[in-house]
């Protein structure tokens, strides 16, 4: 299992691995927002938590179609399915590798992009916390979507359509934590809901992903 994680991380950093793609997308989206809504700092600081959350979500989505498709194309998914590793742990490791190469950099970059959007000072802490708790769910749900669409030509588009509605609960509660944190309100309830969603997806979805992957490999 460690070997698979290390391989996926290594592949992400090698040529064409796509590391930094999501991060660059996140950066560009947040830089473009002040251009499109205008430079009023009060308006920007109101919408900053929501914009940052939406940007992180879309950046996360960007790299999902490569998650399993590359392994399917070169045949290594077939070989992994016949290896001693259970498919459940293969998809869990894949989701973890995706989070480490996409989700975690977004979490770390978010405070710096918050400055660009004039995010109120108390909001920084809660933005990082909410993204830290919410992004693992996005990787796990995304892996499920990737397993559903593996083997389809142009599956990436279908993948977005399937995955985005599933991201809604995470987005609602995650953005709510960041928004309440930024305005100095109490954040416990949405944060608990967000953590609950993440915990439930991590606990349940790998089984669903492995099941659809088995059917797709037939």
């Amino acid at each position: 299992m460690i070997a698979l994680l290390l391989r996926d991380l290594k592949l992400a950093f090698r040529a064409g691995g796509g590391f930094g793609l999501g991060l660059a997308f996140f950066l560009i989206v947040t830089v473009l927002v002040p251009f499109s809504v205008g430079p009023q700092s009060s308006l920007l600081s109101t919408i900053a938590p929501g914009v940052l959350w939406l940007g992180a979500l879309l950046a996360c989505l960007l790299s999902l179609d490569r998650l399993l498709a590359l392994d399917w194309e070169d045949g290594s998914l077939d070989l992994l399915a016949t290896a001693p590793l259970p498919l459940e742990s293969v998809v869990t490791i894949k989701a973890l590798a995706h989070w480490l190469t996409t989700g975690l950099p977004l979490v770390l970059a978010a405070p710096f992009l918050g400055i660009l959007l004039n995010l109120p000072v108390p909001g920084f802490f809660w933005l990082v916390i909410s993204l830290l708790v919410g992004t693992p769910a996005m990787s796990v749900i995304g892996t499920f979507g990737a397993a559903l669409t593996v083997g389809l030509k142009r599956g990436g588009l279908l993948l977005s359509l399937l995955v985005l509605p599933l991201y809604v609960p995470t987005l609602i509660f995650g953005a709510e934590v960041a928004r309440r944190g930024a305005t100095g309100m109490e954040t416990q309830t949405p944060l608990l809901m967000l953590a609950g969603i993440t915990a439930a997806t991590i606990a349940l979805l790998p089984f669903a992903s492995a099941a659809v992957l088995r059917i797709n490999l037939r």
């Binding site: 460690i2 070997a3 698979l4 391989r7 290594k10 592949l11 090698r14 040529a15 064409g16 691995g17 070169d74 045949g75 290594s76 077939d78 070989l79 992994l80 399915a81 016949t82 290896a83 001693p84 590793l85 490999l217 037939r218």
Partner: protein, 204 residues
Amino acid sequence: MTLTVTDLAIARGGVPVLEGLSFALHPGKALILRGPNGIGKTTLLRTLAGLQPPLAGQIDGAEDQIAYASHSDGLKPTLTVMENLTFWASVFGTKGIQHALDAFALNAFSDRYAGNLSAGQKRRLGLSRMLVTGRPIWVLDEPTVSLDRDAVQMFAEAVRNHLGQGGSALIATHIDLGLDGDVLDVTPNKAKPQPIDDLDGGFL
């Protein structure tokens, strides 16, 4: 470990391709699978490897015993030859890849990226993966595609060594490998077309 197949029926894309297939593969033996294109050789091998369920029949002794090599090699172009092999060795929980590099003469480019290898060299790397799996039953699908004459000999030698150590191999191939194995021709097992009794039966 003997692989026993009894009265197996398999389907590709929902259409039955082979039926009533029975054979046994004993340790130290090779079985050469033959049959025309489209008869279902790949489907049979995938079924044995556990990638798809059979329509009917029994497969005994396959669980966690089979190392499967498909048409594609499962190589990562941005990993080196060494990294590719080491990865598969650690997935299968075995140590040491040197014997695999030696068997397929891969030492000279063990530090080269797999993406820069020629088609035949990639195939050799794909086949050398079988040696690091440590599994007793090899199931190989057209292993000699894009191999030159010397590489075919390397491969035959590797299979002979494997059989000598008590392993077994099921190989779908159209060329003569010079192995003293039985030939399993699946042509007589071609599935008869199903009579269509009711028009919407297939949908329900």
